[in-house]
């Protein structure tokens, strides 16, 4: 079984799903099921973090913690300090001590702040959180985060919600080549073929949200992404031939040599 291991936890699925932008919690829940995912991110600013049930703020009620690892994200934080406060709050609310670090003060493109992300990773690792930082596709930053104890690095394919695919492919290739922790392509993956391409490159997993959430049929598209991720992973494991500009005969040209 080609399992993915992050920290000490094993995952059978390499497709992670984000829970924003769905037209209802029920539709989101159906999409999670169809995707086969085992890891689901939830924005803490949208969740009920009090102990009291809340009929109006109830997204967590639709994500079964026995089926999915809930990965709280710190979206909304502009600084390391704010991300830390959110992470601690999530922990106090009984959520797993895993945290998807999202610090994007630029609201136009939601691009992550590398300096605050590194600071927050160092601090959260020191507090025994399992930290999965969302980053721009910067190979040196990826190494710095790895050294700081990040459990994965999550470079963006292209800006959040853009559906543009792997705009940062060349930098992502370097990150994949050099990383000693799993590499999860997060953001910008707009169609199943993008997910396949990311997995073929050697990404360990992909995280999808917008493409599925705004689809006309989220559950069916989630299933298509599941297949796309598996296809890409299989191709990567087998090993793909290099592309060339010339034609190559499929029958041997030098097979007449007998010795």
């Amino acid at each position: 079984m080609d399992q993915l291991t992050i920290a000490d936890r094993k995952f059978n699925s390499r497709l992670f799903i984000g829970t924003g932008k769905f037209s209802s919690n029920e539709i989101m829940s159906d999409a999670l099921k169809a995707s086969g995912t085992e890891l689901v991110t939830v924005s803490l600013k949208r969740a009920n973090l009090s102990k009291e049930p809340d009929q109006f703020v109830n997204i967590l009620d639709y994500i079964d913690p026995d089926k999915y690892l809930i990965l709280p994200n710190t979206s909304g934080a502009n600084t390391a300090e704010e991300a830390l406060r959110l992470a601690r709050l999530a922990q106090n609310a009984g959520l797993p001590n895993w945290i998807k670090l999202e610090i994007h003060p630029d609201h136009q493109y939601l691009l992550p702040d590398p300096i605050e992300t590194l600071k927050a990773t160092e601090a959260l690792v020191a507090e025994n959180f399992t930290v999965l930082p969302y980053i721009n596709a910067d190979p040196v930053l990826a190494k710095r985060l790895q050294d700081a104890g990040a459990a994965t690095v999550m470079p963006l394919g292209s800006p959040i919600g853009s559906n543009r695919g792997l705009d940062n492919e060349e930098q992502i290739k370097i990150i994949i080549e050099q990383a000693t922790v799993p590499v999860v392509i997060d953001a910008g993956i707009g169609k199943p073929s993008h997910a396949t391409a990311a997995m073929e490159l050697g990404a360990d997993a992909v995280l999808i949200n917008t493409a599925i959430a705004i689809s006309n049929n989220p559950a069916q598209l989630a299933n298509a992404f599941k297949n796309a991720v598996n296809t890409g992973r299989t191709a990567h494991n087998i090993g793909l031939s290099e592309a060339t500009n010339e034609a190559h005969a499929t029958s041997s040209l030098t097979g007449f040599i007998t010795e």
Partner: protein, 380 residues
């Protein structure tokens, strides 16, 4: 450096985004408007998904030292006034919380005596454990005062320029501190320095020619995005509604132009939130919920105490800054029939929050009540 330094020349200094915006404001036929609507709807779904944020205004006070000819709260309007005390504010907020609201806009007239910085800070602190997202729409402040509001637990500042036409602004704001155009224009920048995380800007449409108004607003937004970048921006295009004082707008914005305005903003600024209040009609709100709007108020009251009747025992007139009891004016009869303070303007869509949710769900939109957490900013 501030927007004030470039404002007067903004129409001649367009950047790619505002140039595109200006083109989008050119007159369109029905078919072209339809195309803009399609694009606007698609961009909105891409950036905001199938969601609609909901909020309610909570009016704290209708006392005001300004005379603004279009506003029901104008100082010289003989209206029933009240300022809610902290307990009354909590009662109103608790009621709104029970209806689902986790995002409230605290609104008050500008009055240093009744609506002081200390009072506003107390209001925020009193409701912040209940309401994760608190916004403020009050008279302009200095940066340190804004910092105090943020520290108290306020996340958003809303300040509309009303009109970006200096001459019109001067004519309409006849007395009071609001007369200072530049002081108001710099408000969002002071709010940014004060630490607010969302800033809402806008213009009151009907006061001046709409295309010029819209372009100035877009230029303001573009300036803020470049210079005050760590903030989530929202825009709003309120249209004048009937109010005490009986102001008649000279520049009515038609429904068709209103739609074009919304679509042009959405297409130019895909990530910016667009707010539509209960000033607008039911059919317009229902249809626009799918075409570009990202945040809506619901079941709104625009008078202090409007949700629960709080403050009804303290209604009075204010004449030249002094409280005048209703009995002294010999019209307690009208008070009995009114029972509430005078509203800022008449709302149009009077459906309950629950009915608005049903409409949104029918339109395949998820009503989002909570989209912020106090813990992000709150350190005390």
């Amino acid at each position: 450096m501030s927007f004030v330094n470039t404002f007067d020349n903004h129409a001649n200094c367009l950047i790619p985004s505002t140039r595109k915006f200006k083109q989008l404001l050119n007159p369109v036929n029905a078919e072209e408007l339809e195309e803009l609507a399609r694009l606007s709807a698609s961009i909105t779904r891409q950036h905001f998904g199938h969601t609609m944020r909901l909020f309610a205004p909570l009016y704290l006070s209708n006392e005001c030292v300004n005379n603004c000819t279009y506003c029901g709260f104008s100082r010289s309007n003989a209206i029933l006034r009240v300022t809610l005390n902290i307990d009354q504010v909590v009662t109103e907020a608790s009621h709104l919380h029970s209806l689902g609201f986790r995002s409230l806009l605290l609104v008050a007239g500008e009055h240093p005596k009744f609506v002081s910085e200390g009072y506003l800070g107390e209001c925020i602190k009193a409701i912040r454990d209940l309401i994760p997202s608190i916004a403020l729409e009050v008279g302009p402040m200095e940066t340190p005062e804004y910092s105090n509001m943020v520290e108290a637990g306020c996340e958003t500042l809303v300040v509309y320029q009303e009109t970006y036409n200096r001459n019109t602004y001067t004519k309409l704001h006849t007395s009071g501190p609001k007369k200072d155009f530049n002081w108001r224009l710099e408000c969002p920048e002071r709010a940014y320095r004060g630490g607010f995380r969302r800033i809402g800007i806008g213009a009151l449409f009907g006061l001046s020619e709409w295309r010029n108004e819209a372009l100035a607003l877009a230029s303001h937004l573009a300036y803020l995005q470049q210079n005050c970048w760590k903030v989530n921006y929202t825009v709003s295009f309120p249209r004048i509604r009937p109010a005490a004082g009986g102001f008649n707008p000279n520049h009515n914005l038609t429904d068709k132009d209103f739609l074009q305005l919304i679509f042009a903003f959405r297409i130019t600024f895909p990530e910016v939130g667009i707010i539509l209040s209960t000033r607008e009609s039911k059919p317009l709100r229902d249809n626009l919920s799918k075409l570009g709007i990202t945040s809506m108020s619901a079941g709104s009251h625009t008078e202090p105490g409007g949700y629960t009747g709080e403050g009804a025992d303290d209604l009075h007139y204010t004449v030249r800054g002094r409280r005048v009891d209703v009995d002294n004016k010999n019209d307690s009869e009208s008070l009995c029939s009114a029972q509430l303070a005078t509203e800022q303007f008449e709302i149009n869509d009077d459906r309950s929050p629950n009915q608005i949710c049903e409409m949104l769900i029918e339109n395949q939109l998820d009503p989002v009540w909570k989209d912020w957490d106090q813990s992000i900013l709150c350190t005390n």
